[in-house]
C-alpha cells in the first residue's frame, strides 16, 4: 500500500496578536503535488497561516511541518524549499522586471547561467519578456502581479505559497494566472493557495479548507463540500414579506436542501431546481412578494453561506 507523503502538516497551529486569536488551533494536511486552497473572507486568518508556514511568523501554539521541516526549528531549510507570492505586489519598483527576478535567484544562490535561462524562460511564458528591462515603476498592476509569480517560481521550488494570487486583477489577467497555476498542478508542484474568490477555489483546487474567524470549519474537495450543502441548483429571489414564514414553508418542500437569506434575497438550494422553480416561487409568494429571480449551479459560496450564515465577501 502506497504511503501518502504530506508536504505540509499543521497541528493545533495557533497565532495570537495580543488578545486577538488570528489563527485558532487549526489542523490540516497537504499532500505532495496537491493544489490546496484556504478559502475564507478577509481577516479570516489565511495570510497569518501562510506566514507561519513560511517562517515569517512564529506560532503562538501548536506547530507545523513544511517539507518535513518544523516551522519552529528549521526555518532556513524551509526557505530553501518554498516559493512565495505575497498578497500585495511586492517588487522593487526602481529595478527592472528582470533584475527583480534575478535578485530572488541570487538569494537562492542559483548558478548564473541557470538563473539567466530560467528568468528568460519564465518572462517569456508569462508574457513579460518585452517589458523585462523596463523599471517596474512603469508596470501596470497586472504586470506586477505576474512578475510576483515569476519571482516565486524562478528557483523552481517544490512547494509554492500563493496568497490571493488574483486579488485585484482584471478578468483577462485572472484567467491567465489561473492557467498558469493549473500548469503548475500538471507539473505536480505542491501549491497552497489562499483566496476569497469561491470560483477560483472551485476551479483550481484539489481540496479546499474553509476558514472563518481563525478556525477551519470545513475541509474537502470542492465537489464534496458542495455535496454537504446538498447537490442541486441555486435559486436566488428578491423577496419582501415575512421571511421567517417563507423559509419555514420552503424547508417543508422535500427537494429543498437549504434556505438562507442574504440582505433582501432568499437563497434556496434545491435538487433539480430548474424543474421545480415554479413551485418554489409559488411557495415563497404565500409569505410575501417575490421579485427578480436567478438560477445557477450550487457553489462554494453556498457552502460558506450554509456554514456561517454569511457570504464570503460580506
Amino acid at each position: 500500500m502506497k504511503q501518502i507523503q504530506y508536504a505540509i502538516e499543521a497541528t493545533d497551529l495557533t497565532r495570537k496578536f495580543g488578545d486577538l486569536v488570528a489563527v485558532d488551533h487549526i489542523n490540516f494536511k497537504v499532500e505532495e503535488g496537491e493544489l490546496w486552497g484556504l478559502l475564507g473572507p478577509n481577516g479570516a486568518g489565511k495570510t497569518t497561516t501562510v506566514k507561519m508556514l513560511c517562517g515569517l511568523l512564529s506560532p503562538t501554539d501548536g506547530t507545523a511541518t513544511v517539507g518535513g521541516q518544523d516551522v519552529r526549528k528549521s526555518v532556513d531549510e524551509i526557505r530553501r524549499l518554498i516559493g512565495v507570492c505575497p498578497q500585495e505586489p511586492t517588487v522593487y519598483e526602481r529595478l527592472t522586471g528582470r533584475e527583480n527576478v534575478k535578485l530572488i535567484g541570487q538569494m537562492h544562490k542559483m548558478p548564473k547561467a541557470e538563473l539567466k535561462k530560467k528568468t528568460d524562460e519564465l518572462l517569456e511564458k508569462i508574457g513579460l519578456a518585452e517589458r523585462a528591462d523596463d523599471q517596474v515603476i512603469t508596470y501596470s498592476g497586472g504586470m506586477k502581479r505576474r512578475l510576483d509569480l515569476i519571482m516565486a517560481l524562478v528557483h523552481d521550488p517544490s512547494l509554492l505559497f500563493l496568497d490571493e494570487p488574483t486579488l485585484g486583477l482584471d478578468p483577462a489577467v485572472r484567467r491567465a494566472v489561473w492557467d498558469f497555476i493549473l500548469e503548475l498542478k500538471e507539473r505536480k508542484k505542491t501549491v497552497v493557495m489562499t483566496t476569497h474568490y469561491m470560483e477560483e477555489a472551485d476551479e483550481l483546487c484539489d481540496r479546499v479548507a474553509i476558514i472563518d474567524y481563525g478556525k477551519i470549519i470545513e475541509e474537502g474537495s470542492p465537489e464534496k463540500l458542495k455535496e454537504k450543502v446538498g447537490r442541486g441548483d441555486r435559486i436566488e429571489m428578491e423577496f419582501s414579506g415575512n421571511t421567517e414564514t417563507a423559509i419555514e414553508q420552503l424547508k417543508r418542500l422535500k427537494f429543498v436542501k437549504t434556505v438562507a437569506t442574504v440582505e433582501n434575497r432568499l437563497v434556496v438550494v434545491a435538487e433539480a431546481g430548474v424543474l421545480r422553480l415554479g413551485e418554489i416561487i409559488k411557495t415563497a409568494s404565500r409569505a410575501g412578494t417575490v421579485g427578480k429571480t436567478s438560477l445557477s449551479e450550487n457553489t462554494l459560496e453556498d457552502v460558506f453561506l450554509h456554514l456561517t450564515g454569511r457570504r464570503l465577501r460580506e
Binding site: 526557505r79 505575497p86 500585495e88 511586492t90 533584475e99 541570487q106 538569494m107 519571482m151
Partner: protein
C-alpha cells in the same frame, strides 16, 4: 557574503535610479559645501578689536603689536573702559581687551579682561583662537623683562573659518545617511519587500550587511564629491610648512567611513523602533538636527552641559579628529583618543543596531 553583495548592488541601483533621493544624498551636501565655500572663502574679514591698555610696561605694548600684525584683527585703542564698552555695544568693535597695570605674559590670565561678541560665531571663534594662540605663545617662553623683544617671525595663527566650516559640512554630509538607512529599511519593511526576501535563504545579517555596504559606498561618494567641491571653493588642508598632507587627507576619509558605520548603526536602531517609513524619517531628523547643532559641526557648543551631552553623537568625535587632521595639520595618531572613541562608538552602534533590528523583526 555573496548574498550581502547582491543586496548592496540592488540597494545602489535603487538609490541611483531615484533622482530625488540621489539629490538629497549627494546633491544637497554638494550644494551646501558650495554655499559654505562661497560665503566663507576669500580674504578673511578683519575684525575690529578695541583695547584699553592701563599698563605702561613693554610686554603689553608688544602683545598689542603682535595682535595687530595678524591679518584678521584690526586693533583700535580706547582711552577708557567706558568708551570701549560703548563701542562694543554699538557694534563698531566685535571684541574688547582691557590690560591691567603690571601685565606680564605669564600672568596674563589675571591681568587681561577679554570679551567678544558671541552672536557672531565666526568672529567669536576666529578672535578667541587668535588671542589665545598669541597669549599662549608668549606665556610659553617669556623672555627676561629687560631683553624682551618681539619674535623675528610672526606667530603662526592657523585658524581659518573656511576650513572650520568645510570640515563641519563634510561630517554633516556623512551623518545624513542616518536618514537614508532608516528611510530605505523602513520602506522595504512597509512594502513587504523585507518579508519577501525573508522567505528566501537570505538571513537578516545578509540584509543588514548589504545595507551597510551600500551606505558606505554612498558615504564614500559623498565624501569625495564634497571634498572636491571644497577644493574648488578654496579649501586647502593646513599642515606644517612642507608637510605632505596626502596622508592626512586619506586619514580624514578613513574617519569619515568610520563615522558612516556609526551612523548606519544609529539608523538601524531608529529603523527597528519606527513603525513605518514616515515615522522613521521623522525620528531621523530628530536625531540629525541636535547632532548638527551640538557636535561642533558648524560651531562649538559653549554651555558645559551641552558640551558633555555632545559626546553622545558620533559626529563630535569625527569633527574633532577631522578638524585637527585637516585644519591644523595634526598627525593622525595624535588624534587617537577621538579615533578610538569613534571606532568604539561605531562598533557598539552597529552591533546594538543589528541586535535590536533582529529582535524587532522576528
Amino acid at each position: 557574503m555573496t548574498i550581502a553583495v547582491d543586496l548592496a548592488v540592488k540597494n545602489l541601483k535603487t538609490i541611483f535610479r531615484d533622482k530625488v533621493y540621489l539629490f538629497f544624498l549627494l546633491g544637497m551636501p554638494i550644494m551646501m559645501m558650495l554655499l559654505v565655500g562661497l560665503a566663507f572663502r576669500g580674504d578673511a574679514t578683519a575684525y575690529s578689536v578695541g583695547y584699553v591698555n592701563n599698563d605702561t610696561g613693554p610686554f603689553s605694548q608688544q602683545f598689542i603689536t603682535l595682535l595687530d600684525n595678524v591679518d584678521i584683527l584690526r586693533m583700535i585703542s580706547f582711552s577708557d573702559v567706558s568708551s570701549l564698552e560703548n563701542a562694543f555695544r554699538q557694534g563698531s568693535i566685535v571684541a574688547g581687551l582691557i590690560i591691567d597695570e603690571g601685565y606680564n605674559p605669564v600672568t596674563a590670565n589675571e591681568t587681561v579682561t577679554f570679551f567678544v561678541d558671541e552672536s557672531s560665531v565666526s568672529a567669536s571663534m576666529a578672535i578667541k583662537s587668535t588671542v589665545t594662540t598669541i597669549s599662549s605663545a608668549l606665556a610659553g617662553s617669556p623672555p627676561p623683562k629687560e631683553y624682551w623683544k618681539p619674535p623675528d617671525e610672526p606667530i603662526s595663527v592657523e585658524f581659518n573659518i573656511l576650513n572650520f566650516m568645510v570640515v563641519g559640512t563634510l561630517t554633516y554630509a556623512v551623518s545624513i545617511i542616518i536618514f537614508s538607512v532608516t528611510g530605505s529599511i523602513a520602506k522595504e519593511r512597509d512594502k513587504g519587500l523585507f518579508s519577501r526576501l525573508r522567505t528566501t535563504p537570505m538571513s537578516t545579517m545578509d540584509f543588514l550587511t548589504g545595507s551597510l555596504m551600500s551606505q558606505l559606498v554612498v558615504s564614500l561618494l559623498q565624501t569625495i564629491s564634497v571634498f572636491a567641491v571644497s577644493y574648488l571653493v578654496g579649501f586647502r588642508p593646513i599642515g606644517a610648512t612642507g608637510m605632505d598632507m596626502t596622508v592626512n587627507i586619506l586619514a580624514a576619509f578613513v574617519v569619515a567611513m568610520i563615522l558612516a558605520v556609526a551612523c548606519v548603526g544609529v539608523g538601524l536602531v531608529i529603523a527597528a523602533f519606527a513603525k513605518n517609513e514616515d515615522q522613521a524619517v521623522g525620528v531621523s531628523w530628530f536625531v540629525i538636527i541636535p547632532m548638527m547643532f551640538l557636535s561642533g559641526t558648524w560651531w562649538e557648543p559653549q554651555d558645559p552641559a551641552m558640551k558633555t551631552i555632545s559626546w553622545v553623537f558620533p559626529t563630535s568625535y569625527a569633527n574633532k579628529a577631522v578638524r585637527a587632521i585637516l585644519a591644523r595639520g595634526a598627525p593622525l595618531l595624535s588624534m587617537s583618543s577621538y579615533l578610538i572613541g569613534l571606532a568604539v562608538y561605531a562598533a557598539i552602534a552597529f552591533v546594538v543596531g543589528v541586535a535590536i533590528f533582529r529582535k524587532k523583526t522576528m
